[in-house]
């Protein structure tokens, strides 16, 4: 999954800040990133749920799709050739979750797409960003200039205090609602701000020129409500929020329907819609919509306290039988103080409350299919 793991790790514009804050640096998706700070994963997680956490997500790819015609709808129509989402309907100043699909209906990457009025702004996963950029160039170059914005950092400010903190630097922030996105000044710096994130909390993601990134981050961290948060808590927060991690919960072998992401595919792109199909793997994905898929991603809660982690095999019975599925993400949910997991199971075993077993160190631990998100989200609608 690590696209650059043969090369020396890259550094984000905030690398020296992480080191000075005591961040424990680990290789991740080709970057040297903080997995935790001295507070530790548990405190960082709970702090984000109760106050505000600041995350460096500058390893992610930021790409501008600029229509050669000058009309943003032309870029939107072009991008619809690669994703099953309705991109044309994204209003200026709004953002939408999307997936690049392949010819088999699998997911090449998941991404955010924002309409910035005269162009589209994409945020893609770090491990996929080079492949995504090549994919865009190979397929959209007739219609769009694909502009990889390598000189920008990306930070996320998440949690119930995020709005109050950001309001001190960005007058526009409080009026934004979930998935609003656009250019705004933050502390006088020209940024792109969206009201979104990867924690289940209200919050913001801020794209900032690399040269101003550390200055802005330090200003935000100066607020006593804000702690820096590492990748460890980022993962436990998104798991509690029921959000997919690319390469684990979704990949080239899972369709958006199997992944439980039907909500992200608008009716206009489904069978009978105004622009049905026309994206890679449409035949298979639309068949999954029309006839159902055979398996589904579900949430899982354990009866005991032992975390059930990625890779654990799932069984229908406490002994014997073949595996019926596999855990794709799992661990300890600090907000619930209990294990949480997600994985793929046959649709016939996907109903809420279905009892299953996960094999952990040779033992079958009882689990039940549970609703996601595990922790209620607090998006500002």
């Amino acid at each position: 999954m690590l696209a650059h793991n043969q090369d020396p790790p890259r550094r984000t514009p905030l690398h020296s800040l992480h080191v000075s804050l005591g961040g424990k640096m680990v290789p991740f998706a080709g970057y040297d990133m903080p997995v935790q700070y001295p507070a530790g994963v548990l405190k960082e997680h709970l702090h984000t749920r109760t106050q505000a956490g600041l995350f460096d997500v500058s390893h992610m790819g930021q790409i501008a799709l600029r229509p050669k015609s000058g009309k943003v709808e032309d870029a939107a129509h072009a991008l619809e050739r690669l994703v099953p989402q309705d991109i044309v309907a994204i209003a200026p100043g709004r953002q939408r979750y999307a997936q690049f699909t392949n010819a088999d209906g699998g997911i090449l990457d998941d991404l955010m797409v924002a309409n910035f009025g005269d162009h589209l702004f994409l945020v893609v996963n770090a491990a996929c960003k080079d492949a995504d950029e090549a994919h865009l160039r190979a397929n959209l170059s007739d219609d769009c200039i694909i502009d990889a914005l390598a000189d920008r950092a990306l930070i996320a400010l998440q949690g119930p205090k995020a709005e109050a903190v950001l309001a001190k630097f960005c007058a526009a922030a409080p009026a934004m609602t979930f998935m609003d996105a656009g250019p705004h000044e933050v502390a006088g710096i020209n940024c792109f701000v969206s009201r979104s994130g990867y924690t289940g909390e209200d919050g913001f993601e801020i794209s900032v020129p690399a040269s101003d990134a550390e200055r802005l981050t330090r200003m935000l961290l100066d607020n006593p409500d804000v702690l820096p948060i590492g990748l460890g808590a980022r993962d436990s927060l998104r798991l509690e929020a029921g959000l997919c991690l690319y390469g684990h919960d979704i990949d080239t072998t899972t369709t958006p329907v199997e992944a439980g992401l039907e909500w992200s595919v608008q009716k206009s792109r489904r069978s009978g819609g105004a622009r049905a199909g026309g994206f890679p793997g449409a035949e298979k994905i639309l068949a999954h919509f029309d006839n159902g898929a055979s398996r589904r991603r579900v949430g899982l809660r354990a009866e005991g306290r032992a975390p059930v982690r990625e890779g654990a095999l799932l069984f229908a019975d406490s002994a014997g039988g073949e595996p019926i599925g596999k855990v794709t993400s799992g661990g300890f949910g600090p907000t619930l103080s209990a294990p949480v997991a997600m994985g793929y199971v046959p649709v016939s075993l996907s109903a809420l409350g279905t009892k299953l077993f996960a094999e952990v160190r040779g033992q079958r631990l009882p689990l039940a299919v549970a609703a996601m998100p595990f922790v209620k989200n607090t998006y500002k609608r």
Binding site: V41, L42, K43, G232, R305, A306, P307, R309, F332
Partner: protein, 122 residues
Amino acid sequence: MTTTLYTSDHEWLAIDGDTATVGITDYAQQQLGDVVFVELPKVGRTLKKAEAAAVVESVKAASDVYAPISGDVLETNEALAAEPALVNSDAQGAAWFFKIKIADKSELGGLMDEAAYKAHTA
């Protein structure tokens, strides 16, 4: 009179006669981070040196704890099931994992004293 010995895998053993009390070191708990779950061996189980005897899990990952010496498990620390965070607050005291009846005292010869362990983690 107890003597404390250490393994290169960051376990400590408090030796009292033919009984050893086993836990993980303060260095180990710092490396693991917040401990959220501990799985202990069953009392009466016969452990062979170097086999997986217990599991300690942080938010991030699960780590095996290997039997530092061979012997029968005499007692386990039930307090860890209710309060795994004891491992972070008192790794080399209240958060002992299990007590083992030493099967072969010659196995103690391969362990480190405190000075050697300090050098090992320096």
